[in-house]
């Protein structure tokens, strides 16, 4: 119900004031002046490549995107964190990114700097990185400089990002930027620690604090009073919060509400809220839609110097809320240490660490300090971990985007993060010694500094399975290459994805380049990460995971694995992989994103619950009657349009082809239930006879007639059945509340929308018959003048007569006679040699295929029928295409967190409390962690069990014979004192206590695999070593009890 009519959204965004920085020295260009001129680089013009930025546009919106395209960003420091920030910004599509770094690349940089190669060691970091970053997005000008930072250097930028920077530098840059209206982000990581700081000026204007669609609700009552109270229809909760601003439309009676500006509300309940004084207004009669309005929010940022002294700290982990202030001081102590010694504290060096603790006391005299925490910070000061950089770098890049666009709430102002749970659970001091963690001129030095050399060997020997090579898959592989997972002689990483690369992927699936489009994702991704770390033993597969590929991903494959990382975009595959991981008892890293929201779940065998233990609430389906007769939101008309598409251009063609090729089609159809046989055969007949076009003009005529059927005749028939004044039994208007009264449209070939519809529908219809279409609108308009549309005759007033007729036809419909008649009227397949139709699969991302043209036109015409505000192509595509908004920053951050869990899995952390599930929403901003839930413990008799346990039954007996059902039941009775009442494999029921006796007798002495094959009507493949059975059981006392599943081994 939360429709957000676009017209309103436009009004809201139209009122957006410009964002903070208004100084405009070169090369800044003020937005929205000149049209695009086809320049390759972002030239400050408003043109946005929607094909490339499609998924990101659904996160940021066009306004924010335009502001980004006029922004120049300096990224200083091109180690692992800097490159991560720069990568996200280049993908995001700012105008230019300037890479600043005076230093040459060194071995430790390779721990996380994925665009530096071993042969780059000694080269300038920024210059070596530049070509690889520039490749990511042709619209972004990427340049580099090795000049020392100076005021002149900084002056042209809208945003400056400092990484790997001294505190002195941060302070003067902070002063300069603040007083010159340049926005500043400071980011730093030290091993498992991260730091982020934002200063967006004295008056930062945030135009959209959360990125959510404005909510709206339907009004059922408004009282006159002070304050007036508004009640919404009980269809859905309004979802507003006190302090929100709303506007009204379509209110009848109290019309003053429709014209007054946004009003602030106070929420009284889920369906009610109060507004200002309504006592002078007219009496409310009916109707009304109330819509949330986003109001700009002003934020004052302190300059770094002030914020350092009076820090405002954002908490990321409420379990460790006491740490951020200590890290804030500790970080300053680190800076002091480096200034005094010229190098950071050495890994696991006790003396250096003690000095850092002492320096912290100087920074924060008298404060209560967690010395262990400070010592860890000192120990890890040279640490450099790809996952931490991915997380902090994702956040930092999002902050840059906020700074330039005013979209989403910025971090105010400090964020500190640590992931110390990654360290060994036991005997930390013995495992992590100075010797273990010393640098050894290896590419993993940054990681060895934190975890020691021993873990490096373990990581190299891991065998991991990455399921999916989309956005998450790319990020996972990058992290794996950096941390050295599967890079040793015994290790390997297998990645599978059945998809090929599309243009819209390039915006965030950063391992792919324009020339990779149409190639296999898994292959290209594997090739790209091999370049990042040639030692990575990665192999790629083109398979979809599922029962069909269990021959490939069989027992041997899974048993050899150490773990699985999901990079999937749908719940089905996630559930499937979860089930496989539970069965093979492998850890699973699960992550997902939706726009700025992301989550990580880690599944640990025998410890945590599994992915499917908790289900997300499903999306509310739209009731069929709403779709069919009572739409009240654009979502409803779009879903209706999608159904039209399937029903017009896909299903009829599929049915016809089946009819023509499958001799048993008619027979199978006749076995369908109810009225289906008649409906299917009639549809086939319609496609082959009644509506079969002979050429392009017939297709145009069909489209025109179908237009009349859908947007005129059917609406008139509905209004005939329920006239506008119709009352319900309770005396209220039938067409009221959520039911909007429709009106028929009049066809007008000069109306662009009407012609759009005919163009799209006629072309698709022609395509489904293999007839050539036309894009010539003039010619089609001409053809339309000759189309004869049968006049509409409502089934009016002659109920009894009509009903009798209908009844008769309905009655005969089931008659064999009627079906025979239909069958006879169908041309036999022999009469149509070689004729086939072409079912059209909906493809939302091709703007030339007429698919979205049809959806947009069909949906907006129906919206017009019901006076629902129309939606433009962009929004229609989002809803009808069920597009998941996506942005590189969220993916990078989420996968970084997932890979932190990887460290724990590889070390074999055994405490649930060491693991962290994560949720984040970069727009709010919010980051939260929680301990994974323990697997629920069940019990029968004295046996405790969890989802990770099972009965192991050897189906093949010593004599080579397989167990029969009788023996199976007896086995459980004897061995486990369990009386099986029901036995199943998948969705097939093999045995149940209420089975007919005859069937049971027959089944009792059959081997189990034979029963499975018979009931499921599927053969048990040779690759299957074991079957999974589910049981329902009674105990000794005939009480129903829960028991684990059965692994029944047959080979």
């Amino acid at each position: 119900m939360s429709s957000s009519p676009l017209s309103k959204k436009r009004r809201v965004s139209g009122s957006e004031p410009p964002t903070g920085s208004s100084r405009a020295p070169a090369p800044a260009v003020s937005p929205s002046i000149t049209p695009a001129n086809g320049m390759a680089k972002n030239g400050g013009e408003a043109e946005i490549d929607e094909g490339l930025y499609s998924r990101q546009l659904y996160v940021l919106g066009h306004e924010a995107m335009k502001r980004m395209q006029t922004s120049n960003v300096l990224v200083s420091g091109l180690r692992g964190l800097g490159v991560e920030v720069a990568k996200n910004l280049v993908l995001g599509g700012v105008k230019s990114v300037t890479l600043h770094d005076p230093q040459p690349a060194a071995w430790p940089d390779l721990s996380s700097q994925f665009y530096l190669r071993e042969e780059d060691v000694g080269q300038n970091r920024a210059e070596a990185t530049l070509p690889r970053l520039a490749e990511l997005n042709a619209y972004v000008a990427v340049t580099s400089t090795r000049q020392p930072l100076s005021q002149d250097l900084l002056a042209p930028f809208q945003v400056v990002v400092l990484t790997n920077s001294s505190l002195e530098e941060q302070l003067w840059v902070g002063d300069f930027c603040h007083s010159h209206g340049i926005k500043l982000v400071v980011a730093d990581t030290r091993g498992l620690f991260g730091q982020l700081f934002c200063d967006f000026g004295d008056d930062m204007v945030v135009t959209d604090t959360n990125g959510e669609q404005p909510l709206s609700a339907m009004v059922s009552m408004v009282t006159k009073g002070c304050p007036g109270e508004v009640t919404c229809l009980d269809e859905a909760r309004h979802g507003f919060e006190t302090g929100d601003f709303v506007t009204f439309t379509e209110v009848e009676g109290m019309e003053e509400l429709n014209t007054c500006g946004p009003v602030e509300i106070r929420v009284l309940g889920p369906y009610t809220f109060s507004i200002g004084d309504t006592s002078g207004f007219g009496d409310y009669v009916r109707g009304g839609i109330v819509t949330q309005v986003k109001m700009p929010k002003h934020i004052r940022f302190k300059r770094l110097r002030e914020a350092l002294a009076e820090p405002e700290l954002m908490v990321t982990d409420f379990g460790k809320a006491e740490r951020p202030p200590i890290m804030h001081w500790g970080w300053q102590a680190l800076h002091r240490f480096i200034r005094q010694h010229g190098h950071p504290p050495r890994p696991r060096h006790q003396g250096d660490a003690a000095e850092v603790v002492a320096l912290t006391r100087e920074v924060a005299p008298g404060a209560e300090l967690d010395e262990d925490l400070l010592r860890e910070l000192a120990f890890q000061a040279t640490g450099d971990l790809a996952p931490v950089n991915a997380f902090i770098g994702g956040l930092a890049a999002q902050e840059v985007m906020k700074a330039v666009s005013g979209k989403f709430t910025p971090i105010t102002q400090w964020l500190y993060f640590d992931a110390l749970e990654c360290l060994p659970e036991e005997n930390k001091e013995m495992v992590l010694t100075e010797e273990q963690c010393r640098p050894r001129n290896s590419r993993y030095d940054g990681q060895i500094a934190v975890f020691g050399a021993e873990l490096q060997a373990k990581l190299g020997a891991q065998k991991y399975f990455v399921v999916g090579a989309g956005a998450i898959g790319c990020e996972l592989l990058k992290n794996f290459a950096m941390v050295g997972l599967g890079c040793g002689p015994d290790g390997c990483v297998t990645v599978t994805d059945m998809d090929t690369i599309e243009k819209s992927n390039l915006n965030r699936q950063f391992l792919f380049r324009p020339w990779d489009v149409t190639k296999l994702k898994s292959e290209r991704a594997a090739a790209a990460v091999r370049e990042m770390n040639p030692a990575l033993r990665v192999s790629s597969r083109p398979d979809r995971v599922g029962p069909d590929t269990e021959r490939v991903y069989d027992d041997d494959f899974f048993e050899a694995l150490d773990g699985v990382a999901n990079a999937l975009d749908n719940v089905d595959a996630r559930l499937y992989m979860d089930r496989r991981c539970v069965y093979y008892r492998k850890p699973l890293l699960e992550s997902g994103t939706l726009g700025t929201k992301g989550n990580v779940q880690v599944v640990i065998p025998f410890l945590s619950e599994s992915y499917s233990s908790s289900q997300d609430p499903p999306e509310k389906a739209i009731p069929i009657c709403t779709l069919k007769n009572f739409p009240n939101a654009i979502e409803h008309t779009l879903q209706w349009a999608r159904d039209e598409f399937e029903g017009l251009f896909k299903q009829p063609a599929e049915n016809v082809n089946q009819y023509l090729t499958d001799p048993r089609f008619v027979e199978r159809t006749l076995r369908l239930a109810g009225t289906q046989p008649v409906e299917v055969l009639e549809a086939v007949q319609r496609s082959l006879v009644g509506e079969r076009p002979r050429g392009w003009p017939d297709c145009v005529a069909w489209a025109c007639r179908h237009w009349h059927r859908q947007y005129s005749n059917n609406i008139r028939q509905l209004l005939h059945n329920f006239p506008p004044g119709q009352k319900t039994n309770s005396g209220t208007l039938f067409w009221s509340g959520p039911k909007r009264c429709p009106h028929p449209l009049v066809f007008d070939p000069d109306n662009p929308l009407h012609l759009d519809y005919v163009m799209a529908a006629a072309n698709l219809f022609a395509q489904s018959y293999g007839i050539g279409g036309s894009r010539d609108r003039g010619a089609v308009a001409e053809l339309l003048r000759h189309v004869r549309v049968p006049p509409f005759a409502p089934k009016a007033g002659v109920r009894i007569h009509v009903s009798d007729q209908e009844l008769q036809s309905a009655a005969t419909a089931l008659d064999d006679g009627r079906l025979e008649e239909l069958k006879a009227s169908l041309p036999s397949p022999e009469e149509l040699p070689g004729f086939r139709m072409f079912p059209i699969d909906f493809e939302k991302d091709d703007d030339t295929n007429f698919h979205m043209d049809f959806i947009v036109a069909a949906s907006n015409l129906r919206a017009e029928n019901y006076d629902i505000p129309p939606a433009d192509r962009h929004k229609s595509k989002l809803i009808a295409g069920k597009i998941i908004p996506a942005i590189a920053t969220t993916t990078g951050a989420v996968v970084g967190l997932a890979c932190l869990e990887l460290y724990k899995l590889v070390q074999g952390h055994a405490r649930l409390a060491s693991y962290k599930n994560a949720f984040l929403n970069l727009a709010l901003p919010f980051v939260g962690f929680s301990e994974p839930l323990a697997c629920p413990r069940n019990k029968y008799y004295e046996v405790e069990w969890t989802l990770w346990d099972r009965f192991e039954v050897q189906g093949l007996q010593p004599d080579g014979q397989e167990m029969t059902l009788r023996q199976f039941l007896a086995y459980f009775k004897k061995e486990h004192r369990l009386e099986i009442t029901m036995l199943s494999q998948g969705v097939s029921m093999l045995y149940s206590f209420f089975m007919p006796a005859a069937k049971l007798r027959e089944r009792h002495d059959q081997p189990m695999t034979e029963i499975v094959a018979r009931v499921s009507k599927k053969k048990v493949g040779r690759h299957v070593k074991a079957l999974v059975f589910e049981l329902c059981c009674n105990d000794d006392t005939d009480a129903d009890i829960e028991v684990p599943y059965v692994r029944y081994t047959i080979r």
């Binding site: 389906a621 009731p623 009657c625 009225t675 039994n729």
Partner: protein
């Protein structure tokens, strides 16, 4: 992409997690051995999530004497998302569309995972007793119900006679004859939602006043929606 072809789509639920499947098995077996009044279940061995049932037309309705085949399709998100109900026997009813699809709020908006299949079946049975013209899928039936109850009842009865009796609507096996338990009573009890204020109105079992006032009908409808 519902609703087109909905009733004959396969319910491909190989992805239901085991603990959910176990739940379905339990409920199906329970419903098979102890079905609600006038409802009979026909479990499908090959696919337990394909739930085929027959519902007897409730006494005192135009559907009385008819036997209606229907099926529940448990989607992949069951039980978080409600099952979809389809009538396989043709029926003249405002809330049943031409393809047999059923529009009832308890199967959509008010669904909770705990409600279970029994509740769904009872709700659909209730819908036969109290059709809701306001969410009409069969507009003709909806209009008649609003304008002319007798007319509506006559046509519903006629279709019941044609489709829901004899071989046309024959279920896999005939359910045993049932005592004509007053289905109204159950529905009335369910409908006796407390009014905003005041005591609970006392309902007598066997109170089968068919000519309910418009208001009472409305109360029931609302109660039904709340189910």
């Amino acid at each position: 992409m519902e609703p087109r072809g909905g009733a004959w789509q396969n319910s491909n639920v190989e992805n239901l997690p085991p603990h959910i499947l176990r739940l379905v098995y339990k409920e199906v077996s329970l419903l098979s051995s102890d079905p609600p009044d006038g409802i009979k279940l026909f479990p499908n061995e090959e696919d337990i999530t394909d739930v085929q049932v027959t519902i007897e037309g409730p006494e005192g309705t135009p559907y009385a004497g008819g036997l209606f085949r229907m099926k529940l399709v448990l989607g992949k998100e069951f039980p978080a998302a409600p099952p979809k109900g389809f009538f396989l026997t043709k029926i003249f009813h405002p809330n049943v569309g031409p393809g047999g699809e059923i529009c009832v709020n308890v199967l959509k908006r008010d669904w909770r995972a705990e409600l279970g299949l029994r509740h769904v079946l009872l709700t659909i049975k209730c819908l036969l007793i109290h059709p809701n013209p306001e969410s009409a899928l069969n507009e003709e039936a909806g209009r008649l119900l609003l304008e002319n109850y007798e007319e509506y009842a006559a046509r519903a009865r006629l279709l019941t006679d044609i489709h829901a009796r004899g071989k046309g609507g024959a279920p896999p096996s005939q359910p045993p004859p049932q005592n004509p338990a007053p289905p109204d009573a159950a529905a009335a009890a369910a409908a006796a939602a407390p009014p905003p204020d005041g005591p609970l109105p006392k309902k007598h079992a066997g109170d089968r006043d068919k000519k309910l006032t418009a208001k009472k009908k409305n109360d029931k409808k609302r109660a039904l929606r709340r189910l």
